[in-house]
Amino acid sequence: MDIFIQQTINALSLGGIYALLALGLAVVFSIVRLINFAHGEVMTVTGYGMWFVLLLNLPVFVSIAVGIVSAIVIAMMMERVAFRQMRGADVTTLLITSFAVSQIIQVLFQNGISARPVAVILPDWLTASIMIGPVRVGMASVLSILVVCVALVGLRAILTRSVTGIAMRAASEDFAVVQLMGISANRVIATAFAVSGAMAGIAAVLWVAPRGSVDPLMGAVPVLKAFIATVVGGLGSLGGAVVGGFVLGAVEVYLQAFLPEAALPYRDAISLSIIVAILVLKPDGLLPERTSRRS
């Protein structure tokens, strides 16, 4: 039972990180129909931002703040420099643009810093484990669940209470009419990228904390998982991205914990088979985007 509780906390913590990343992809996709594969590099930039601040011997909270702010800045820069010029292009063109952005940033870090990991050592209390009743859990896992909850509540508040947030929801339904209301397309899209960057930045901090290092390719695996989560949840649906993230996290963690040792090498194959099975049963994802979109 203790092990089960422990693993459930791990599942929630990993699923929460996937959910944040998936939300970042979904917010942008729902508005501009771009699957941003450079989303992983937003994480990488966060990681190196944290690393740089810690090199200067500044406190850890400064490092985290700088990491998240650099995520927002890089996401908005991607939009301004690369994706804005491609606005209205077809999905394939946008996808290829995002691969290009991703590659450029990876190579910049490989050549500018190092292709090998650099250490991001966070204080012990962040990586320690604590006892909750009889159960030993990682501080990072517990914190990450709390942070994910705060981030989700915050995003919900932005989307339902601020004018730009409401405009973002409207834009995912009918962008042309949002412009007819006099609302700037650039502002709505830039805000979507900022929100997406903030989510990726928070996810990156939670990802880096227990691992203690960053490398130029660190974003590739989590963003791929996040992409799977958005597809499982229903591409373009924000609720779906969250659900998809938690489902994927749970599947991965429980398989790792409870598969017989002989089957462990097949963990990823089994978890992806479960994903395939979900998509066979629900081809539009668990919580598909409800509104029909105009061309």
Binding site: R169, A176, S184
Partner: protein, 233 residues
């Protein structure tokens, strides 16, 4: 108020509007009539900046050709698009809010939204419901109220009576007359030719993207082209 010269609107290889001149005077209802595919809607979306167009469009003496749709909207031109296109997944209140988002301070926006709810009581009743749950007629009211939140000086209306029950069609036409009496200038695209000519000051008949007849509503109503094609005489 609105002067359009040699307007061209094309979608890829299709020329929907081919060299249209149009003058709309302040305070009038100007109807655009014509068969399906004659270029009526394309004229409106061209003026609003939603699709690129060529030619010259002047609004209150300012050249607005080529400006982005949000800029044109902020200058005081509202468009109620064909099919209403309310934001179905947003609440009625959120739809109204977005209508005034760029045109008024939060306090002023609330005041205008209250006015709209007073004018259209159904929007009061359904304020917190998803707009997609409204009936067709209610959605049309919401689309009009949403556009009015911006206090436009020129309102472009694309087929406001389309798909509505006869009684609701009456309500919509009464409302258009009411808006005119409040000083709003209206450019109206409609399939309901008799009712449109009844309330319009001037009318323009489009055929294949060009003006085939224009004049006062009375002249157009008695012209051969309208008598033959639309009124069945």
């Amino acid at each position: 108020m609105l002067e359009v010269a040699s307007l061209m609107v094309r979608y890829g290889a299709i020329e929907a509007v081919r060299g249209l001149d149009l003058d709309v005077a302040a305070g009038e209802i100007h109807a655009i009539l014509g068969a399906n595919g004659a270029g009526k809607s394309s004229t409106l979306v061209g003026i609003s900046g939603l699709v690129p167009s060529q030619g010259k469009i002047e609004f209150e003496g300012t050249d607005i050709s080529g400006l982005p749709p949000e800029t044109i909207a902020r200058m005081g031109i509202g468009l109620i698009p064909e099919g209403r296109r309310i934001f179905a997944s947003l609440t009625v209140a959120e739809n109204l809010l977005l209508g005034g988002a760029e045109h008024a301070s939060p306090v002023e926006r609330k005041k205008r939204a209250d006015e709209m709810r007073e004018r259209f009581p159904i929007l009061q009743e359904r304020s917190t419901q998803k707009a997609g749950l409204l009936s067709g007629g209610e959605q049309q009211m919401l689309a009009i109220a949403r556009a009015l939140m911006a206090r436009p000086r020129l309102l472009l209306m694309d087929e406001p009576s389309l798909g509505l029950a006869p009684q609701m069609v009456e309500t919509v036409f009464d409302l258009i007359v009411e808006l005119k009496s409040e000083g709003l200038t209206i450019l109206l695209v409609e399939q309901n030719v008799p009712m449109s000519l009844d309330i319009a000051d001037h009318a323009l008949v489009l055929a294949q993207g060009r003006a085939s007849y224009r004049g006062t509503a009375a002249e157009v109503a008695t012209s051969d082209v309208v008598q033959g094609a639309y009124l069945g005489h």
